[in-house]
Amino acid sequence: MATVTVPETARGLLRRPTATTGAWSWLTTVDHKKIGIMYGVAAFVFFIVGGLEALLIRTQLYRPDGTLLNADQYNQVFTMHGITMIFLFVMPMSSALFNYLIPLMIGARDVAFPRLNAYSFWVFALGGLFLYSSPFLGGAPNGGWFGYAPNSTTDPSIGMTFYALGLIITGIASTAGAVNLAVTVVNMRAPGMSLFRMPPFVWMGLVVQFLLVFSLPIITVALFQLLFDRRWDTAFFDPTRGGDPILWQHLFWLFGHPEVYILILPAFGIFSEVLPVFSRKPLFGYRFLVIATILIGAYSFTVWAHHMFTTGAVALPFFSIATFIIAVPTGIKFFNWIGTMWGGRLIFPTPMLWAVGFLYLFLTGGLTGVILGSPPLDFHLHDTYYVVAHFHGVLVGGSVFALFAAIYFWFPKMTGRRLSEALGKLHFWSWLIGFTLTFFVQYQLGADGMMRRYADYPSEAGWTTLNMISTAGAFLLAFGTLPFLAAVVLALRRPADQPADPWEANSLEWATASPPPHHNFDSIPPIRSERPVFDARMAGTEVPGT
């Protein structure tokens, strides 16, 4: 065969990055695995920052008449906490896992558009840095993470302009990433992997990408309107000139409720991988669970106004009933996970502990959510600490517990090293107890009439004891994170020693070395179910890479 020399100019506009080690390889990489890890590290840095902001909030509220922060600083801190945790931690951390795992799970070489993938990451990083430049350039966003107009359009500080622009930038990153991953899943599956042989995590990922593609344009429009109202004196949300403040809420929550599932479906996917592996059983009712997920995804666009029961501007019975109905497919999933454990051979390494802890916390978050779905009760509980406890139940107990489960579960795959079980258990139990202390008392605080977003409260209100318990719990969560960081550092100092499949797991990413080579797979086992690696193990064939 003759060697063909391709002239430099024929290789496209940009040269293919070739570095494989060193800082330059990370800065120029288009490898989905490296991009995934960069997403994960960046998201975790933002998690630490958002966590420190949470500690500021809890320290301020530890006693009545807190003086750590003034009202202005407090408003900026709780706004940045919300924005950070949702847009700069949970969403990119999900992107990290989708990026790293989806090509491996479907037996692909990379994502469909590797350069676009790198673009997504760097735009996200830019958006995060842009938002965090605001405290140094005139003030951080201060109107709450859902930035209700007209407070957000009239506030004299520059913060909400940063909010609008920053979220538009991260939205670009999310949209590009969503298109990329959806195309990857649809087009790049290995031979034999029909849709209903995809791992549940990939299914959840696919639904999330569609939710992103359909919901992000809505918030982008709203953010541009906000920006125009602030900067160029338009009147989208100004009733004195024909606008309507409720319009912002409709647009925000029409994005915001699908967003809830964008945040939680990755968690459902993670637990749908972890629970079967450590129960040594297939996912119970796999098809049912997938169909329930698709229904939730589509249906999530119909319940937005349950965030707006108290506005007097929405049809209460309709949105209340719609909200109750969407609880049903979520309940189905819950029973599917329990059915997976039933009759299994359960072992409890750290990832499984997080999964069982998730079932407990998500159950409380879900049930308290149903109570909020009843408008006459929401009239009392709306915007109180009850709501704060509810959504932290589903977002911390759901998403964050899942992300920790995922890190413990896939760390061996990503690095070839396993995290310490002892430190992992310490981490888990601190978080389970810390979470319960921090947030369960907040249900009571909400019923006692304590609203969110108060920079201080008087001692006569009778909220002091519960706030003290909550703050103590928050510090337990903070200190409970240290064993995790220690485990990561200790693991990375050791040489890589993990086999391809340390957990005896199910899906394709375990059919290649840990960490996987740059090209992912040398060969792929036959795919005849959603558990190809399990099948190969049972058949006694040697799994490639092991």
Partner: protein, 358 residues
Amino acid sequence: MLWTLGSIAGGLLLAACAPNATQDTLQPVGDVAKQQKALFVPVFWVAVAVFVIVQGGILYIAIRYRHRKGRDRMPKQTHGNTRLEIGWTIAPAVVLAVVTVPTVALIWDLARPAGEGALNITVEGYQWWWGFSYPDDDMVTDWDSPITIADTMVVPTGRQISLALESKGGGAQDANQDPDFQVIHSFWVPQLFGKQDVVPGRTNHIVFSVDEPGTYTGQCAEFCGLQHGRMKLEVRALEPADWEAWVENQKTLAPSPTDPLAQQGEELFLNPLSDGRGACIQCHAVGDQGATAAPNLSHFADPEHTCFAGCNWRTEDREALAAWLADPDAVKLGAKMPDYQLTDEEIDALVAYLYSLT
């Protein structure tokens, strides 16, 4: 896992012995709050029952099917069970349907407009205080405007009350001050009724009644800017006889002060301050003089006006009032009342005047 059970027990214990909270939803004193509690309690117990059953099942399974040493076995690979799955789709749907019926019934109940003879009050949300005016024909003052008060909402017991909620703003625009913006607030007095938002360009309503005379506290419940947490109010519910007396007093001008210091204060209050510092009366009103951008002070020292400046300080606290006048921004960051660099003598005179407005 025992921790889980412990935390449930702990949670129930906390729920059982609610602390001495002044804004406790579960100690209702009005008809609306009582109806809402009557819905909350059964729904809460349904949720508790579901929690106990499901969480109990999870714990049982986690213990029963845990791997034990020396008992290596491959569990049966069940992929699903259609009948079971249909069953656990229907079961939560039925529970939710049961919750839906009383929910929808109460939605319609609460939306019913007020009957004949209800007392109308217009609730006005400003940044960051509440104003109340009484638009009914029999609530007109001697100077032909509706009774208007701030920070405390005075109501009679045993009578239906219809609130119209309006967002106000656009007041003082001193060179150093940010204007008062029309933004969304939310009106809530936990022991009396659930919250409704106060939305610019829209009028929402709450219809309720109070059973017992007393003081019920509330706070703004929708984030409304810098001092959202300091936007409080008190509802003063009076027996009908006391209510009549209060109304009569509100309709008449407070007597002109006789004490020289208070007279000096009146002079300061009603006229522009020296050196172009502005005037109190630019924003505040007393009787037939003044404007509506700031709290109406016609009866500042009336015994039912128990708190001032967003209900953050007790009216009887002279030192708090003096501190507020000396530098509003220092005691309530971002307050829209300008700092007029009042001298100690001016403050003494103004305090004396305000306390004469009974």
